[in-house]
C-alpha cells in the first residue's frame, strides 16, 4: 500500500516472513538433550585435545571428527561481558541484559550466555558485581524445551 515514511517520502510497506526448519543434526541434538538434564557437554578434539563447548561434530582448527563427549561444569568464570541497553527486532529478551563469555570449568573455550539474577537497572550494583573473573553458575528453567534458553542465565556466586 502506498504510504509515506517519517521524511514524507512515498514508500511501499513490505514484509517477507518465511518459516524455516533448521536441522539440529546428531551433535546439537545430543547437546540439547543433555541440556534438558541440566548437563553442559563439550567434545574433545583427538588431535589438539581442546574441549570445546557447545559440543562440535568436528574441530574447527584440526578438521578431524570430535570423538569424546566431555561434561563440563555448570559453573565458570566471566571472561568478558557487555550490558546491552538496546532492543533489537526479534530479540528474545528486554534490555537491559548482560551477555557474557564464560569460561566453564573443564572447557578450553568460552561459552556465550546471559548473566543475570540481580537488578540490572542499578548501574552501581552492576559495576560492583560484574568484573572479569567473577564466578558464575547456571540457573535453569524449570520446564525444559531442549534449547539454549533451558539455561535461564548464569548467576554470580
Amino acid at each position: 500500500m502506498l504510504t509515506v515514511n517519517k521524511r514524507g517520502h512515498p514508500i511501499l510497506e513490505a514484509e517477507a516472513s518465511i518459516p524455516y526448519e533448521l536441522a539440529y543434526g546428531p551433535t546439537w541434538h545430543r547437546f540439547f538433550e543433555e541440556l534438558k538434564q541440566e548437563k553442559i557437554f563439550g567434545t574433545r578434539c583427538p588431535k589438539c585435545e581442546r574441549v570445546l563447548v557447545p559440543a562440535r561434530t568436528f574441530c574447527p582448527r584440526c578438521f578431524v571428527d570430535m570423538g569424546q563427549w566431555v561434561q563440563v561444569s555448570n559453573a565458570g568464570t566471566v571472561a568478558n561481558w557487555a550490558i546491552c541497553n538496546l532492543a533489537f527486532f526479534g530479540a528474545p529478551f528486554k534490555p537491559p541484559f548482560i551477555t557474557s563469555l564464560i569460561k566453564l570449568d573443564g572447557a578450553d573455550n568460552t561459552f556465550f550466555h546471559l548473566v543475570g539474577g540481580f537488578d540490572l537497572e542499578d548501574v552501581n550494583l552492576v559495576g560492583r558485581i560484574m568484573k572479569r573473573g567473577v564466578r558464575v553458575e547456571a540457573v535453569w528453567e524449570r520446564t525444559k524445551k531442549g534449547c539454549i534458553f533451558d539455561i535461564k542465565y548464569f548467576e554470580p556466586l
Partner: protein, 388 residues
C-alpha cells in the same frame, strides 16, 4: 604470473537517508559518477561485479537481478560477491584478480546499500546461527563492545584514557567528514558531547557508532595498457591480503586477531612495506565503532599492541599526524554497509591520485584500505599507490 592492475575511476553517491529515490536509481547515481570520473565508454567494460549485504537486509533477494540495468550489466560477464562487512573489499579483490589474471582489461565493480529500507541490526543478528549464538548477538554493538573490554584488560589500559582516545577519534572523524562531500554525518561534535552521549552497549556510546546510511560506490579496475592511456592519473594496486578466522565466538582471540594481522602482513609483503607507520601516508580503516579502530591500528602494525590509546591521544593518527587514519570521516560518519569497504578503497584512490579535494592529505603516495566482517572474523586489506 599476474599483471599490474590500476583503478582508473571512482564514483560515490551522496549518502544519507535516500528514501526519495528507488534502490536502482541510487545505484545508477554511482555508476554514472564512475563513468563521468573516468571518461570510459560503458561499452568497453567487459565484466561487472556487484555486492551488497544479505538478501534479508535488502528486502529483495539476490538484488543483482533487480539492479542489473542500473549496473549497465546487460550483455556483460556478471558476478556477485558478498561477505557481509567485508563485501566491499572482497569486491575489490574480485576486480583486482579479474584484471591481474588476464581475464579482462576493464572491470566495473559496484557495491550498494539502502540500510534505511530494512533493519540492519536484525539482519546482523541473523548472521549468527540460531541454535546457540543468535539470541545473544544483540546486533553488531553487543558483540563489538566485548572487544575493547578485553583489549583494555589484556594490556592494562586505563579505562579513562581509552574513553578519551575513542572520543578523540569521534571528534576527529566528525570534523574530517565536514570536508568530505560524500560523507553522511557532516557535523562537528565536542569531546564532552561524545563522552556524555547515551550508552548503547557499555563502553560504546551513540557517537562511538556509525550512522544508518544509504549509498553506493563504483570503481573501475583496468590493466596497465588501458591505465596508461587514461586522461587522469590512475591508482596502482600495490598489495592485497585477506584472511578469515573461526566462526564460533569464544573459540579464538578476536582482540589480537590473527586474521587482521595476517591479512595486513600479506599485503605489506606484496607491497614491500616493512615499516607501515613510516611508509604509509594515509589509511582508511573499517571503523564502525571508535574503540575497534584502535584494535586494527595495532593489528596492522601502526603501533605496538596496547599502545593505540596513547598514540591516538598524541595525535599520531590525526589528519596532521604521522599516519592520518580516516580523513574522509571514515565509517563512523558514513556506513552504507555493503558499499562501505569499497568506499575505503575509493577514498584511498582519491588520496593517492591527489583528487580528494577539501579532505586531501598533502603528499600522499601510498595508502591502506581495510574491510572488516563478522565479529572481527574476516579482514581484508588493499594497499594503493600513486606509482606503478
Amino acid at each position: 604470473m599476474t599483471r599490474p592492475v590500476a583503478i582508473v575511476g571512482v564514483g560515490q553517491t551522496k549518502p544519507g537517508d535516500r528514501s526519495e529515490v528507488t534502490y536502482p536509481d541510487l545505484v545508477r547515481e554511482a555508476v554514472q559518477a564512475v563513468f563521468h570520473d573516468s571518461g570510459i565508454d560503458p561499452d568497453d567494460i567487459e565484466s561487472v561485479i556487484f555486492g551488497s549485504m544479505p538478501s534479508m537486509m535488502e528486502g529483495v533477494a539476490m538484488n543483482h537481478f533487480y539492479l542489473a540495468d542500473a549496473l549497465r550489466g546487460v550483455g556483460k560477464t556478471f558476478m556477485r560477491t558478498e561477505t557481509c562487512g567485508t563485501t566491499g573489499i572482497s569486491l575489490a579483490f574480485s576486480g583486482y584478480y579479474s584484471v591481474a589474471s588476464g581475464f579482462a582489461d576493464l572491470v566495473l565493480v559496484v557495491a550498494s546499500e539502502k540500510v534505511n529500507e530494512g533493519d540492519a541490526q536484525a539482519t546482523m543478528s541473523t548472521v549468527a546461527e540460531p541454535f546457540y549464538q543468535r539470541p545473544f548477538a544483540a546486533g553488531a554493538p553487543g558483540m563489538y563492545a566485548m572487544l575493547p573490554n578485553e583489549w583494555m584488560w589484556k594490556h592494562d589500559i586505563e579505562e579513562d584514557a581509552c574513553r578519551d582516545a575513542a572520543a578523540t577519534l569521534s571528534v576527529d572523524h566528525h570534523r574530517d567528514a565536514v570536508r568530505n562531500p560524500c560523507a553522511h554525518i557532516r557535523r562537528e561534535f565536542t569531546l564532552e558531547e561524545v563522552k556524555s552521549a547515551p550508552v548503547v552497549v557499555y563502553p560504546i556510546r551513540l557517537l562511538d557508532v556509525c550512522p544508518t546510511s544509504d549509498g553506493a560506490c563504483a570503481v573501475i579496475f583496468a590493466s596497465e595498457r588501458i591505465a596508461k592511456k587514461m586522461r587522469q592519473k590512475p591508482a596502482w594496486i600495490k598489495g592485497i591480503g585477506f584472511r578469515g578466522d573461526e566462526y564460533v565466538v569464544g573459540d579464538s582471540d578476536r582482540v589480537e586477531s590473527h586474521c587482521a594481522t595476517d591479512a595486513a602482513r600479506e599485503a605489506y609483503e606484496m607491497a614491500g612495506i616493512t615499516r607501515p607507520l613510516e611508509e604509509l601516508d594515509v589509511a582508511e580503516l573499517y571503523n564502525p565503532f571508535t574503540f575497534v579502530e584502535m584494535l586494527h591500528m595495532e593489528s596492522f602494525g601502526f603501533c605496538e599492541p596496547g599502545t593505540a590509546t596513547a598514540r591516538v591521544l598524541n595525535g599520531t593518527f590525526s589528519r596532521e599526524g604521522t599516519l592520518p587514519c580516516g580523513p574522509s570521516g571514515g565509517v563512523l560518519c558514513t556506513n552504507p554497509i555493503g558499499a562501505t569497504a569499497l568506499i575505503r578503497v575509493a577514498e584511498i584512490v582519491l588520496q593517492v591520485t591527489g583528487r580528494a579535494g577539501d579532505h586531501q592529505v598533502p603528499g600522499v603516495k601510498l595508502g591502506l584500505a581495510h574491510g572488516l566482517g563478522g565479529v572481527n572474523q574476516f579482514n581484508g586489506v588493499m594497499i594503493l599507490g600513486s606509482e606503478l
